[in-house]
């Protein structure tokens, strides 16, 4: 009755075929089945943003999606975005500005930030704060993160000049 379902999906560019019980959410699937533990679990009710991943290019809360809903989709986690180099400049800016302390919110934060910068190349500080309004950080107080994002936005604009 609650038997595992076969799903075919792509995770960080790798095509996978797996059987997973329907109740397993995408965050737990990534962590427990694929051992990609960079996606973190903070609340399991969609409030904190720690589990943010990309599905078919759009950011989603992995705790609010079933693994079986990812069938036929392309999922990108922090490991994938990191290894591909896509967020290398963001990671460098986070390091420079100490925009992470414990690091637990950081994967979700980086993915959310990258989402913003793909849509807007000149976001104001208020706009940055607004876009990140669903990502909880208890350590930094957010300012260093905003500083890092603003710096990267500026650098990316300079590069495309």
């Amino acid at each position: 009755m609650t038997a595992p379902i076969a799903i075919l999906l792509e995770v960080n560019g790798e095509r996978l075929e797996m059987d997973v019980p329907p109740r397993v959410n995408l965050a737990d699937f990534l962590r427990d089945y694929l051992h990609l533990t960079g996606t973190h679990v903070g609340c399991e009710h969609g409030a904190c943003g720690a589990c943010t991943v990309r599905v078919d290019g759009e950011i989603v809360r992995a705790c609010l999606m079933l693994a079986v809903q990812a069938h036929g989709k392309a999922v990108q986690t922090i490991e994938g975005l990191s290894d591909s180099g896509e967020i290398a400049d963001l990671q460098e800016a986070f390091r420079e500005h100490n925009a992470l302390q414990c690091g637990y919110c950081t994967p979700g934060m980086l993915i959310a930030v990258q989402d913003l910068l793909r849509r807007q190349n000149d976001p104001s500080r208020d706009r940055i704060r607004e876009h990140l309004s669903g990502n909880y950080c208890r350590c930094t107080g957010y300012q260093a993160i905003v500083d890092a994002v603003a710096a990267v936005a500026h650098r990316r604009r300079e590069r495309t000049r």
């Binding site: 329907p22 809360r61 609010l64 809903q69």
Partner: protein, 292 residues
């Protein structure tokens, strides 16, 4: 906080979904965006035996305009409202409203149909549908029926939808040229559920409002159209008039008390919203009237 086990059915057609619904009734839940259902399931507040995933049904998607009516499929994701030219042109109120729904990651998955059927009293879209005189298009194995928004929202988490029915689309009249709108809500933090909110649509004729539909949310167990809005119609909207109408609104509303706000708090905020709405409409409509 792991959901209870369930059987999962990814349906390929509306008919298939309806069939499962009619067989399993209360034991089945429809899964669209999952942004309301999944938190509830993770918290074990709801434990369906069967989850019917309608998320891939093409028939439930699409935004189109035909003969003066905007039609939006129930599976329209919130984010699509922000990007749709049709919606921007024909129902700009929805564009303003959607910006207040949760956060980007929530908007990428959450759906119009999900929000309307979940009927959270503090949700934005039900109030918008009320203001915009939308019609819900509902299908069951018996065929299709249409319910006006005014008759659809029955109470907290309760709609006129029967257990074996599926909301397939929403239709509403395209905004006319002399249509103006106003949307605002008060929430403790960006993206939170509102403490009080207003979704308003009005028609301008001869420098006055010929029509005003002001739907409030988070002030009752369902969205409510303010009768006090009538006080602003066909009149010069001067401060005295706004005050009177706002007082009438206060009398009309009877918000319940909860952890987030007291009854008088919500009533007060509703009146502030009403005032802000009136002043904004005067500006947007180039109306006769002076603002306070």
């Amino acid at each position: 906080m792991k959901a209870s086990a369930f059987t999962y059915a990814r349906v390929a057609s509306i008919d298939h979904a309806l069939e499962i619904l009619s067989v399993h009734g209360e034991q089945a839940k429809l899964l669209a965006g999952g942004q309301s259902l999944l938190p509830a399931m993770n918290l074990r507040l709801v434990s369906p035996q069967i989850v019917i995933d309608i998320g891939e049904l093409a028939e439930l998607r699409g935004i189109s305009i035909d003969r003066g009516m905007l039609r939006m499929g129930a599976l329209t994701r919130h984010v699509e409202f922000l990007n749709s030219r049709e919606v921007a042109a024909s129902a700009p109120l929805l564009v303003d409203a959607v910006k207040h729904i949760g956060h980007p990651a929530i908007r990428n998955r959450g759906t119009l149909g999900g929000s309307l059927v979940h009927a959270d009293p503090a949700a934005e879209l039900p109030a918008c549908m009320l203001a915009l005189e939308a019609t819900m298009i509902i299908r069951s194995r018996n065929g299709e029926r249409r319910i006006a928004a005014a008759d659809f929202f029955k109470g907290i988490y309760t709609t006129a939808l029967h257990q074996n029915e599926l909301l397939v689309a929403v239709e509403l009249p395209v905004a006319s040229e002399n249509s103006i709108h106003f949307f605002h809500e008060f929430a403790r933090r960006h993206g939170d559920y509102a403490l009080a909110g207003i979704a308003a649509k009005a028609t301008v004729a001869n420098a006055v409002l010929s029509d005003l539909r002001a739907a409030f949310f988070a002030v009752a167990d369902r969205p409510v159209l303010a009768e006090a809005a009538a006080g602003l119609v066909n009149a010069a909207i001067v401060p005295k008039l706004i005050s009177e109408a706002s007082a009438a609104l206060g009398d009309e509303l009877d918000p319940s008390e909860d952890q987030q706000a007291s009854s008088s708090m919500r009533r007060h905020l509703a009146r502030v919203l009403f005032r802000q709405c009136a002043e904004a409409l005067v500006l947007r409509g180039g109306l006769n009237g002076a603002t306070a």
